[in-house]
Symmetry: C2
Subunit: 213 residues, 2 copies
């Protein structure tokens, strides 16, 4: 079973590596990082290089696709090799999934029309532009398409996917293996749970950044 | 503020990338991945290459160190450039931290003598060999030394560290930014919470692997 995770510049590294850490532990799964070209792609804050070992062409029919997000998605939404590859391989995947703003790439490939979907909370308003119905849930499963919320949600999504692929027992063994017993020191991980002043500050920061282009 | 994350072959990628995703968002922090040499290091399951941009020598006095774990730690525990670097830079760090079996490297560097510490649940019994007192907690803070439990615990540790470095508000903004509102589909992330049959199977798998060397 081939699991393909596409890389691109300005990717959010955890979007890709969270699901990788889970899915590489599914018996029989082979995770391959792919890119328009092979070689190094730089993360959003530029501090980390991640290596694509195969080109999109070389991974023509993956069983599972996990599309990560990040600021780099913006430059890709207009179409091009990655969006075309997503559209093409989706015809034969068993599961097509995304983390964070990776769902916008699924949308650009035309895969979300009429489906409920999620993404990072700050990008939910972009989903209707792709014909999707935005849903504020951590993981949204619609047939063989699964979208996850922002960044860390990819871990939860991948555990659900591991259960679909290999059963609940295997998914639980993987959860124990990566000791995923989350105990964040604060309760600020969603718009609903974060203190109102934190939400207001986060939204102000994003509005400033958007205004600055 | 320089945050150094050392890489090595057979690293558990999420051990490094979880904290990276948090700490790279701390204002003023510059995260640098370092290695005995620069270039690509391969993850535990070999499917992912991560790039070290600087050598250990080039990062002679980081303010914060985050040592990840993975099967690759085993070959490093006997000493050598990485363990020596950890010992040396610890003299001037503000914080010296680890994720998963990264704490064994702190131990090998002599930093854990007489301290409480944690690591991946399957390696807790190795800590006394380094003079440490093993503690089954997700994050253990002892002066400027913070150790985290297995793999995903690095995210929780890094949020605590972000709060120590930049205050609770910044840490909460980062938590919201990476949408860390964990909702694992199972409750199997620790020896205490996982169903007994899952724990028994996980321990049997690890015993078989250990017996096979």
């Amino acid at each position: 079973m081939d699991v393909a995770i596409p890389l691109f510049d300005r990717i959010t590294a955890l979007d890709a590596v969270g699901p990788y850490e889970v899915l590489s532990r599914v018996p029989g799964a082979r995770v391959v990082f792919v890119g328009e070209r092979t070689g190094v792609y730089r993360s959003e804050q530029n501090a980390l290089g991640l290596v694509a070992d195969a080109t999109l062409e070389e991974m023509a029919s993956p069983d599972v696709v996990v599309v990560p997000g990040g600021m780099g998605t913006r430059a890709l939404l207009g179409g091009g090799p990655l969006v075309e590859w997503i559209r093409r391989v989706h015809a034969t995947t068993e599961w097509t999934t995304s983390v964070c703003t990776g769902s916008l790439l699924l949308g650009a490939a035309g895969l979300l029309r009429g489906l409920e979907a999620t993404t990072h909370w700050a990008s939910l308003d972009l989903l209707p532009g792709f014909g999707a119905v935005p849903v504020e849930r951590r993981v949204v499963e619609q047939g063989k398409v699964i979208t996850a919320a922002g960044v860390s949600a990819g871990i939860d999504m991948a555990l659900l996917l591991a259960a679909r692929l290999a059963g609940d027992e295997v998914a639980q063994l993987i959860q124990l293996s990566i000791e995923y017993d989350p105990q964040p020191p604060f309760d600020a991980g969603s718009l609903q749970s974060a203190p109102p002043e934190i939400v207001a500050r986060a939204q102000a920061i994003r509005a400033r950044r958007a205004a600055a282009g």
